[in-house]
C-alpha cells in the first residue's frame, strides 16, 4: 500500500533503510518472543539495554577512560544482560514475583546502574570496530543487520531443535501437564529469561554502535515496540503459540509501518494515533482464525 502511495518508498535506499532500522528491534524481539511463548511477560528490555549500552561504551575505546577491550567489552555487556535476565527469572521462580513486576523491577535496577555509570558525562565511543558495525556494509546491508539476521537464525534453531526452546513452548501451552509428566520447569524458566537478557544486552550494544554514544535511554520504548512486533507477528501473550519467525515478520511489519507513514507524508501530529490504530487493526485481523478456539480474551 505504501509502495503505491510513494515512489521513494520503493527505492533501494529505503528498503536498506527499513531493514537496517529493524535490526535492533529484531534482536530485542527475539528475546521477548521466548518469554512470551512461555506465557510470561518481560518489561526489562529498557533497563537492561541502558545498562549494557553504558557498560559497552565504557569498556571499548571511548572519551571517558583508557579502556580498549574491543570485542571483550561487547561480550561483557551481553553477559551483563544475561545476569539481569537471570535475576528476573530467579525472582519469578524462587520469590514467586509475577513476571510483570519482576521484570519491571529489573528494568528499574538496570536504569539505576546505567545512571550511576553515566555520572554526568556522556561516554562517546571511538572504537573503530563498534562504530563500523553501523556504517560499513556487506552486500548493501550494515553489519548490524547481519548480526540481527544471525540472531533470528540462532533464535529459530534454539526454538526448533533444543530442549530449551521446545519446553518454552510447552510451558506456555500447558505447564501443568509438563509438571505432571515429571519435568522440572523452574530451571528452564530461568534459562529462558537469561537467554532473553542476552538478546537485550546485545540490543543495547547495537544501539550504542548506531548512536556512537552510551545513552541511559538506549532502550527507551523498545520493550513495548518488541511486544507489539511479537503480537502483530502472531505470538500470543497467553503463550504456547507463535515463535521467532512469526515475530521477525512482525518486526518488519512494524518498521514498514513507521517508515511508510513518514514516506507518505502523514503529519507528525497525526502519526502516533494512526500508528496505534493500524496496529490494533492488524492484531484483530491476525487473531480472526483463532477466535473460535480461543474464546477468552484478557
Amino acid at each position: 500500500m505504501f509502495a503505491a502511495l510513494s515512489p521513494q518508498f520503493r527505492s533501494i535506499e529505503n528498503v536498506q533503510n527499513i531493514v537496517d532500522a529493524a535490526a535492533v528491534l529484531a534482536v530485542v524481539t527475539c528475546g521477548i518472543t521466548f518469554v512470551l511463548m512461555m506465557g510470561s511477560i518481560d518489561l526489562s528490555a529498557a533497563g537492561v539495554m541502558g545498562a549494557s549500552a553504558l557498560t559497552v561504551s565504557l569498556l571499548v575505546a571511548n572519551n571517558r577512560n583508557d579502556n580498549d577491550f574491543g570485542l571483550a567489552g561487547v561480550a561483557v555487556a551481553v553477559l551483563l544482560g544475561c545476569v539481569f535476565g537471570c535475576l528476573s527469572g530467579l525472582a519469578l521462580v524462587l520469590l514467586k514475583v509475577p513476571s510483570f513486576m519482576a521484570t519491571l523491577g529489573v528494568s528499574a535496577i538496570g536504569l539505576g546502574v546505567a545512571t550511576l555509570m553515566f555520572a554526568g558525562v556522556q561516554p562517546n565511543i571511538s572504537d573503530a570496530m563498534l562504530k563500523g558495525w553501523a556504517i560499513e556494509r556487506l552486500l548493501g546491508l550494515s553489519y548490524l543487520t547481519w548480526i540481527a539476521a544471525a540472531c533470528v537464525l540462532a533464535g529459530w534453531l534454539v526454538q526448533r531443535y533444543t530442549r530449551l526452546g521446545r519446553y518454552a513452548f510447552a510451558i506456555g501451552g500447558a505447564e501443568e501437564v509438563l509438571t505432571l509428566s515429571g519435568v522440572r520447569v523452574k530451571p528452564y524458566k530461568v534459562a529462558v529469561f537469561t537467554l532473553a537478557g542476552a538478546f537485550y544486552g546485545l540490543g543495547g550494544v547495537m544501539v550504542t554502535s548506531q548512536l556512537g554514544a552510551g545513552l541511559v535511554q538506549a532502550g527507551n520504548g523498545y520493550d513495548f515496540s518488541a511486544i507489539t512486533a511479537a503480537v502483530v507477528g502472531g505470538t500470543l501473550l497467553t503463550g504456547g503459540r507463535g515463535g521467532i519467525l512469526h515475530s521477525a515478520v512482525g518486526v518488519v511489519l512494524v518498521m514498514v509501518l513507521t517508515n511508510g507513514l513518514v514516506q507518505v507524508g502523514v503529519s507528525p501530529y497525526w502519526q502516533g494515533g494512526v500508528e496505534g490504530l493500524i496496529v490494533v487493526a492488524a492484531v484483530a485481523v491476525a487473531v480472526i482464525p483463532q477466535r473460535r478456539r480461543n474464546q477468552v480474551v484478557k
Binding site: S6, Q8, S11, E13, N14, Q16, N17, D20, A21, T115, F118, A119, G120, V121, Q122, N124, A134, I135, S142, V207, Q210, L211, G212, A213, L215, Q217, A218, N220, T258, N259, V262, Q263, G265, P268, Y269, Q271
Partner: protein
C-alpha cells in the same frame, strides 16, 4: 527482637529533635516586616541553588556557576537536586522555608509551570528572596509579590530563528531542508519551530521539504533522519533540529549514509558534544542560554536585594520577568563556549540586569 542501646542513634535522634525545635522557634522569629528588607549582612546570607539533577551537563554547569558566585562573595551555595520529581521539589522548598528564612536567597528551576505557584507563595509568606527560571504560568507575575524578585526565561522563537538563519546561510540561501521537532505539546518545541517558520518566510529560496517529530531524542532522530534522507535524497541540504540531542542523532544518520559534511546541521542547547561538533565543523550552529550564568545570576540578584544594594521597588518592571540574552555558537566563537566559565563583573549589583533581552510576553 532484642533492643540494643545505640549511642549514635540516640545522639542523632536528639540532635534531630533539637534541630526541629530550633527550626520552629526561628520560623516564629522570621516573620519579619518587609519594610526592613535588605538589612542582611553579607555573611548572614544563605544561598541555595535548586535544579533537577546533576546527571546532565547543562544543570551541572548551572550549579557550578552558583558555586563560583558564592565563592566570589565568600559564601557557599547549598546545592539541591530533586531528580525531576515535583513532589520532592516542594518538600525540599518547604524544608528550607521552615528554617531561618530571614536572609535566604533561592535560585530555583521549577520542574514545570504548575510547580511555580506553591514555591512562590511559600517564599512570599516566609519572606525568602526568590528568583525562578524557565517555567511559570502566564498569569503569575513577580510584580505582584514582594520577595519574588525575578523570573528569567529564554525566547524559543528567537533561538529557533537564530539557528534557522544560520542554516539558511550555510546552505547558501537556496535548497531544501528538513526539520526535526521536539515533543509536540511542549512550549519549547512550539516556539522553536515557530522561529524556524519566521526564518523561512524571510528566506523564500529555502524550502522546508519535510518536518517530523523525534521527541527531543537522539535515537529517534537517527531513524527519522535516515527515513527522510531516503525519501528526499540529495535534495536535503540542511537539517534543523529543535535541540542538540536530535542534531547529534542526525549527524550519526549522515555518517551512516555517507553524507557527513555534505549536509548542514543546527541545534539548540549547546550541550558539550554539540559545541565540540561545531568546533570540529561537522555541525553548523547551536544556541547557548549559558547555564553557568543562569546558576550565578539568580543568586547574585537575590544577594544584592538581601544586602540592600538593590531595592525591589527600584527594579524596572521589565526586569521582573524577562527573556535573557542567548548566544548563537558558530565555528568562530565555539572555543569560548567549550569551557563554561563565569565573568565576575556580570554579577555586580549594577550589572545583574545587563542581559535583559526583552520583557516576557
Amino acid at each position: 527482637m532484642r533492643i540494643a542501646f545505640r549511642p549514635t542513634a540516640v545522639l542523632l535522634t536528639l540532635s534531630l529533635a533539637a534541630a526541629a525545635l530550633a527550626g520552629c522557634s526561628e520560623e516564629a522569629a522570621g516573620d519579619k516586616d518587609p519594610a526592613n528588607a535588605g538589612a542582611c549582612k553579607p555573611a548572614d546570607v544563605k544561598l541555595v541553588g535548586q535544579v533537577r539533577n546533576e546527571s546532565n551537563p547543562y544543570e551541572a554547569s548551572w550549579l557550578a556557576g552558583g558555586d563560583d558566585f558564592a565563592k566570589s562573595v565568600g559564601l557557599t551555595q547549598q546545592r539541591l537536586t530533586y531528580g525531576g520529581d515535583s513532589t520532592k521539589q516542594q518538600e525540599q522548598i518547604s524544608q528550607l522555608l521552615a528554617g531561618d528564612t530571614k536572609c535566604l536567597v533561592m535560585n530555583v528551576l521549577p520542574n514545570g509551570d504548575s510547580d511555580t505557584a506553591p514555591i512562590v507563595k511559600g517564599a512570599d509568606k516566609a519572606g525568602a528572596y526568590l528568583v525562578t527560571q524557565w517555567n511559570k504560568p502566564a498569569d503569575l507575575n513577580p510584580a505582584d509579590y514582594k520577595t519574588w524578585i525575578s523570573h528569567i526565561t529564554y525566547n524559543g522563537v528567537e533561538s529557533g530563528q537564530q539557528i534557522g538563519d544560520a542554516l539558511v546561510k550555510a546552505v547558501g540561501g537556496s535548497g531544501g531542508i528538513i526539520a526535526l521537532q521536539g515533543v509536540l505539546d511542549t512550549a519549547a518545541a512550539k516556539d522553536r519551530f515557530a522561529g524556524l517558520q519566521v526564518s523561512l518566510k524571510n528566506n523564500p529560496g529555502v524550502q522546508l521539504l519535510d518536518q517530523q517529530t523525534a521527541n527531543f531524542s537522539r535515537a529517534e532522530a537517527l531513524t527519522v533522519t535516515k527515513t527522510l534522507l531516503a525519501k528526499h535524497g540529495d535534495k536535503v541540504k540542511g537539517i534543523w533540529a529543535a535541540n542538540d540531542d536530535m542534531a547529534l542523532g542526525a549527524l550519526e544518520a549522515l555518517q551512516q549514509t555517507g553524507r557527513t559534511g555534505k549536509v548542514a546541521v543546527v541545534g539548540i542547547d549547546a550541550v558539550p558534544d554539540a559545541v565540540k561538533a561545531v568546533q570540529g565543523g561537522t555541525m553548523t550552529a547551536t544556541v547557548s542560554s549559558d547555564g553557568t550564568w543562569q546558576g550565578a545570576i539568580g543568586l547574585a540578584i537575590g544577594f544584592c536585594v538581601a544586602t540592600g544594594k538593590l531595592q525591589v521597588k527600584d527594579i524596572a518592571a521589565a526586569s521582573r520577568a524577562f527573556f535573557a540574552e542567548q548566544f548563537l555558537i558558530t565555528k568562530d566563537n565555539a572555543a569560548d563556549f567549550a569551557q563554561p566559565k563565569t565573568n565576575p563583573s556580570d554579577f555586580e549589583c549594577g550589572n545583574v540586569f545587563k542581559r535583559v533581552a526583552g520583557p516576557l510576553k
